[in-house]
């Protein structure tokens, strides 16, 4: 009897982790742990480098969200030098950054998430990827997905100098203004992206929401945790990826905190557990009670659903309509259903595309005034953005010559570490009973994990790409078995 259930490797993730599932005598799940491998030497690697070089180096930590690190790093560098960037520079960074978010969310949904639903967790493994998805939604739509992924990447390249190694942001603004020629190239891409994002929401509705078994999965009890949520909001309380204050709400939606990101150390503490290299950020104000739900537990979640949960709405019309649609479906706010992260991601995709469209038409976007040369002595600074996967903090201390003395990052996936562990355990408990495990059941446990769109490459700066991954199931009698897909 399969006592040991191994998910090896955890497929369709950025980087990799290991899931340990511990069964009791009856073959039911007693414990589940998500572990990741540690990468070494990041601080040392950064120390002594010019602050502005960090803006080009940190994006290389992982090939998945270079844009997010580029933005957070540039903002931290602005703060180190005490410089305010010109308005046009902010708009240009926002145009770049919304294209980055659009690219990331699009990719995650079609390559990583959607295949869970279409053709579904019970389909044969060979179909449970983007190929099976294309069979279900049609070749034309597949071509559209590729085309718009390309647009989102092209826009980033036009602004930041390179599509996957952004270089243009630096302390004080941008090194390159946007030419009218480039702007004219971006504008129709923005329009097309908006239409495509609408289509994505329609596809989600047709293929997932309108199917009872998928609706049940999304709205059911297995993928559900009542936690706190945190994310950036603009002065109107709406979702903003580039800038804002951090808003934290409790499981009932009441505001716990609204703070300037520079004060993050007053609000976030980190718990160390001996079985995990990845620490567990939690809310200082609430305290650590372990990997549990509820208002007494300082566990909080970030990423798309969290951002929508803390916000008053979306700042663009089509995204706002989609936002209202989602909260109507669940009938409450905050939404605690983990699979709703996928839905929230598409609503954010809509917003990001509308922002690209809006900013591409803004007359100030081609202004030549995109840099304020720093004149203050360098000191200490914090830069925060919402990466696709959640709030990203870069914190730098500089010496008097502008060389980095210390560098600290809190990445999105780390902040979801506690919740990911809880989600995997809960899904495992519900779906692995009396030692019975099927292929579809294993994929369901992974679904709990993948909803967070985790990028383990950043979380402990773990190696991206696939590596041999073990899921160890530990029997009570000491036996350990490993599965491979």
């Amino acid at each position: 009897m399969a006592q040991r259930i191994v998910i090896d490797p955890v497929t369709r993730l950025e980087g990799h982790g290991k899931i340990d599932i511990l069964l009791d005598d009856a073959g039911n799940v007693a414990q589940a742990f998500l572990q990741v491998v540690e990468l070494r030497g990041f601080e040392k690697f950064c120390e002594g480098r010019p602050i502005e070089e960090l803006c080009r180096i940190t994006p290389k930590i992982c090939g998945v969200c270079p844009g997010a690190h580029h933005m957070a790093s540039a903002k931290a560098a602005d703060a180190v030098y005490g410089v305010t960037i010109p308005p046009a520079a902010r708009k240009l960074r926002e145009l770049f950054y919304n294209a980055h978010i659009a690219h990331s969310h699009l990719l995650h949904f079609f390559a990583l998430a959607a295949p869970d639903f279409v053709p579904g967790a019970d389909a044969e493994p060979a179909k449970r990827n983007v190929l099976g998805l294309i069979d279900a939604v049609g070749k034309d739509f597949g071509v559209q997905v590729l085309r718009h992924r390309g647009y989102a990447q092209k826009i980033q390249g036009l602004i930041a100098g390179h599509p996957i190694h952004p270089v243009a942001a630096l302390p004080g603004g941008m090194s390159l203004a946007l030419s009218e020629e480039a702007r004219a190239e971006i504008e129709p891409m923005g329009d097309s992206l908006v239409a495509f994002a609408r289509r994505c929401l329609e596809v989600f509705d047709e293929l997932i929401l309108s199917q009872p078994e998928h609706r049940e999965l999304i709205a059911g009890d297995i993928y559900h945790h009542e936690t706190y949520y945190a994310g950036l909001v603009d002065p109107d309380g709406k979702v903003n990826f580039y800038d804002g204050q951090v808003r934290v709400v409790d499981p009932e939606g009441g505001e716990l905190a609204l703070y300037d990101p520079a004060d993050y150390l007053d609000h976030i503490a980190e718990r160390v557990e001996e079985w995990s290299y990845l620490k567990f950020p939690y809310l200082k104000q609430v305290g650590w009670r372990g990997l549990v739900d509820g208002p007494e537990s300082g566990v909080y979640r970030v990423n798309a659903l969290a951002r929508l949960n803390v916000a008053a709405g979306m700042a663009s019309p089509l995204a706002q309509a989609a936002y209202e649609n989602m909260y109507d479906f669940f009938g409450r706010k905050p939404v605690h259903h983990t699979l709703a992260f996928h839905w929230a991601r598409l609503i954010e995709l809509m917003f990001a595309c509308e922002e690209v469209q809006r900013l591409a038409r803004d007359p100030e976007i081609t202004s030549r005034d995109v840099r304020t040369v720093p004149s203050e002595k360098p000191g200490e600074g914090v830069g925060v953005v919402e990466a696709a996967r959640g709030t990203l903090f870069h914190h730098y201390q500089s010496d008097s010559k502008g060389l980095a003395r210390s560098v600290n990052l809190i990445v999105a996936t780390a902040q979801n570490n506690a919740a990911m562990n809880m989600s995997v355990k809960k899904a495992a408990q519900a779906l692995i009973k009396n030692g019975k495990v099927g292929d579809g059941i294993l994929d369901r446990v992974e679904m709990a994990f993948r909803a967070y769109d985790p990028c383990l490459a950043c979380a402990t700066h773990t190696l991206p790409g696939r590596m041999p991954l073990k899921v160890c199931i530990h029997f009570r009698d000491g036996e350990v078995r490993t599965f491979t897909r």
Binding site: R40, V64, I134, G142, P464
Partner: protein, 154 residues
């Protein structure tokens, strides 16, 4: 776009041996690309690959691998071997791996390369931040370049 051969280096250039594919292709660029071949650099495989490789007859990927060999060993793999041996990025689970990406391209009617070879170098360390490879892997870069040239028929 398109032509005879595309040589693409994959990897993370700040994670020690993980970036060896990048170093190999950069060396080829310094020495001069094989005739009829174009050089490219990328991070990992994925959907973004499709528009880059479309139209080429032959694709040569250069990547890091952990196949349990002596560090610096240079392996040459075909697509069919990726089930058992997993180069760090060609078999990446970031979004879609190489075989899936190529099959998707074909499904969508894009002209995918008919011949695919992967030159993979055995790593020693991919978990420390550094812009240079370990000695054994550094020493293998020249050999990997030779292997690539041979595949290109030079």
């Amino acid at each position: 776009m398109g032509g005879q051969t595309l040589i693409m280096g994959l990897g993370n250039p700040v994670l020690t041996d993980d970036g060896v594919g990048i170093h190999v292709v950069e060396r080829l660029r310094c020495e001069g690309a094989p005739e009829g071949a174009r050089l490219e650099l990328a991070g990992t495989c994925g959907l973004g690959l499709l528009e880059i490789v479309a139209g080429y007859e032959r694709l040569v990927l250069v990547d890091a691998i952990d196949a349990g060999r002596r560090p610096g060993t240079v392996l040459t793999l075909g697509l069919e071997e990726l089930d058992t041996l997993s180069p760090a990025h060609a078999a990446s689970s970031h979004e879609v791996d190489l075989p899936t990406a190529l099959e998707l391209g074909r499904k969508l009617g894009l002209p995918m390369p008919g011949e695919v070879r992967i030159v993979a170098i055995q790593i020693a360390d991919v978990s420390t931040f550094s812009e240079t490879c370990t000695q054994a892997v550094r020493d293998a870069i020249a050999e990997a370049c030779e292997v690539v040239r041979r595949i290109c028929g030079v």
